[in-house]
Symmetry: C2
Subunit: 141 residues, 2 copies
């Protein structure tokens, strides 16, 4: 059970963006340098973030990205959804009435994993980008 770099980097990059999100757009190159994430990889991630309207892009020289909403309104769950960082605990298809090994009923542990998924999702629903930068106000990164 571990976090993949897609989710991690997306949040990292957006935290960086939120910090420097004044009037001027922030370029991926800057984020790449500050956070130590490959530029090419960042482009992939931001392409998804833009499609889900979490950021806006500004092309051309002096271009970059800006947040599309207030940091307070961007919850981690939105970011994770945007970059396809799934939280997958059950093995079966949730909609299906069948169990995980093709059995007609749900397995012994299905409800447990479902509960776990809710537990984790709750965390991501609560936390916003703003929480993140507030917590780090005193730090230099």
């Amino acid at each position: 059970m571990k976090l993949t770099t897609k989710g991690r980097y997306a949040v990292m990059a957006l935290a960086d963006l939120a910090r420097f999100n004044n009037i001027n757009p922030v370029s991926l190159r800057d984020i790449s340098l500050r956070q130590g994430i490959s530029l090419d990889y960042l482009e992939q991630i931001f392409s998804k973030l833009r499609k889900k309207e979490i950021v806006q892009s500004i092309r051309g020289t002096q271009g970059g990205y800006i947040l599309n909403k207030k940091a307070k309104e961007i919850k981690l769950i939105n970011i994770f959804e945007a970059v396809d960082e799934k939280i997958k605990t059950v093995q079966c298809k949730k909609e299906s009435k069948k169990g995980c090994n093709g059995k007609p009923t749900k397995c012994l542990t299905h409800d447990l994993w479902d509960e776990l998924e809710n537990h984790i999702t709750y965390f991501f629903e609560q936390k916003s980008l703003e929480d993140l930068i507030k917590d780090n106000l005193t730090r230099r990164v």
Copy 2:
């Protein structure tokens, strides 16, 4: 972020074992058939569970495994630890004072992931095998 089969199957198999854990040991073959998990794979998993003293083995005909403690005392966290299902959210080494990309300070999101890890771990610390079988008393599996 997803659960691997090792953790999932370990809990599934132990839930099955806890249910049928009367006087007689339960053979992996039975668990394999009931839960649809490969016997060879179960053997790997139970080898670890035995080494961590979560189950006891009884060899020979009519042999099998029994729980080594009361179902109430076996928390999911113990099971996960036994089979090396890790909960890994931070990228850096936790003990190290360095950040994840080799930087001298912890990254912007380190505390967040740490909090997430605690949040998930808490869930596994609370839940016991007993909770699992209680919840399923009414079910037929």
